[in-house]
């Protein structure tokens, strides 16, 4: 078994995970990054996306929206706006959010509003994707 490191995933409304972890895979701005014990110090930001971490040889998946990660050789901290397990995702709510965002995209908007809607659409799509992939 691989050596484990301490991982903390903290969302703005709760402590999502706190404990040992053997392997962590995050989606950074420019692609996937895998982290194991003894990784070099690293700081990067996380866009809305997927996250997986291995505890006791088992992969756990989570949907994450906007945050950043600080990696140290023996510990990692992820701070995010929100973080959810696939089974916690409210599909109906995400579906509604997607429809709302798509509807808004068809309207004429200011650039700022456009970015907001796009971000909302991203979050909804990410949730839907993750819950379809890992939770049936």
């Amino acid at each position: 078994m691989a050596k484990s490191f301490h991982l903390e995933i903290i969302a703005s409304d709760r402590v999502f995970y706190q404990g040992e972890c053997e392997h962590l895979v995050i989606t950074a701005i420019d692609g996937l990054i895998g982290i194991m014990y003894g990784h070099e110090p690293l700081v990067t930001s996380l866009p809305t996306g997927e996250l997986k971490y291995m505890v006791d040889g088992e992969w756990h998946y989570a949907a994450i929206s906007e945050g950043f990660i600080e990696v140290m050789p023996e510990s990692s901290i992820i701070l995010a706006d929100s973080c959810e397990l696939p089974e916690e995702i409210d599909i109906k709510r995400a579906e509604e959010a997607r429809e709302r965002a798509e509807e808004k995209m068809r309207q004429k908007q200011s650039i700022m509003e456009y970015y907001h809607t796009q971000a909302a659409l991203n979050r909804a799509m990410n949730r839907l994707k993750l819950s379809q992939k890992h939770f049936k």
């Binding site: 703005s12 701005i29 070099e40 110090p41 690293l42 700081v43 990067t44 600080e70 701070l79």
Partner: protein
């Protein structure tokens, strides 16, 4: 001796007020429960956010990133300062609003020229106060309309975007956040935090004064790009945390104030009913005396 009718009316009106304060007490205590819950849920994030940013900054090589730009070429009296002030939407919460408004005034007085201060006020009470005050110097952003009730991340994001945009366009050179900090459940006091420009505080030294040797962390893809993303995120997270904390303090303050008001109303009613009964008895005694003396006069 006071008039019986007057006392009766007084008791009735105090009873009415008692009903209101008691209801407000109950409302704020149930809201406080909710606010406490969200505060407890957010606190780990809020604290971790600050410590993590500090530790990230320790590992950050010197950057020429935009948000770190102190704009030293702008002279002190010309610096445009923005203050985000979190007040309550309603009064009747003891010294909560008073404290934060006083504190803001003091902060404004510290600046060399209040003309260059821009206030972004959350909450009705603060907005009314600063719009109507006599020394109309610092300008209040009239379109900055945000409530402090039930803070959401969405609202924090909008506020953060607004101030960051103003900072980028050089409409503001410094941004501060003034909010009420909860020390423990019964104690709270106003606090200022500088949001922008992002200052690298001097954490480089350990307790014994020696310089810490810290490995430089690598930034993917580059320090500038990560910072450009991280700082808005930090600002948003910080504003959200401050909003949650201030809201909790407000409910706490209102609950305490309303509890005190209810108690003193009860005391007043007690005193007044004693007075009322005395007056009533005096009136009866007087009536009896009059009847008896009248009867005596007839004999």
């Amino acid at each position: 001796m006071a008039n019986i009718r007057e006392i009766r009316e007084r008791i009735a009106s105090i009873k009415q007020i008692l009903k209101i304060t008691n209801a407000m007490y109950l409302i704020s205590s149930s809201k406080l429960k909710k606010a406490r819950k969200s505060l407890d849920a957010t606190m780990p994030y809020f604290e971790k956010l600050q410590t993590t940013i500090e530790s990230i900054l320790e590992h950050t090589p010197h950057t020429r990133q935009f948000y770190f730009d102190k704009r030293q070429n702008v002279p002190d009296e010309k610096r445009k300062k923005g203050y985000i002030v979190i007040t309550a939407d309603k009064g009747l919460c003891g010294s909560y609003n008073h404290n934060i408004l006083k504190y803001t005034e003091q902060e404004l007085a510290k600046t060399p020229d209040t003309d260059n201060c821009y206030l972004f006020i959350m909450g009705q009470v603060g907005r009314m106060y600063f719009q109507n005050r006599a020394a109309k110097k610092a300008s209040v952003d009239g379109e900055f309309l945000y409530t402090t009730q039930n803070p959401t991340l969405y609202r924090a994001r909008e506020i953060a975007e607004l101030v960051l945009e103003k900072f980028e366009e050089k409409e503001l050179d410094e941004v501060y956040l003034i909010y009420t900090d909860m020390i423990n459940s019964g104690q709270y006091e106003p606090k200022t935090v500088q949001l922008l420009p992002f200052s690298r505080r001097h954490f480089g030294k350990t307790a014994d004064g020696t310089m810490k040797k810290l490995p430089k962390a690598s930034f993917v893809p580059s320090p500038e790009e990560v910072m450009a993303y991280l700082i808005p995120n930090y600002a948003k997270g910080f504003i959200y945390g401050a909003m949650v904390e201030a809201f909790c303090c407000e409910q706490q303050a209102r609950m305490t104030a309303m509890d005190a008001a209810t108690n003193s109303a009860r005391d007043m009613i007690k005193d007044l009913s004693l007075l009322y009964n005395r007056a009533r008895q005096a009136a009866i005694t007087q009536e009896i005396t009059e009847v008896v003396s009248g009867a005596n006069g007839l004999e």
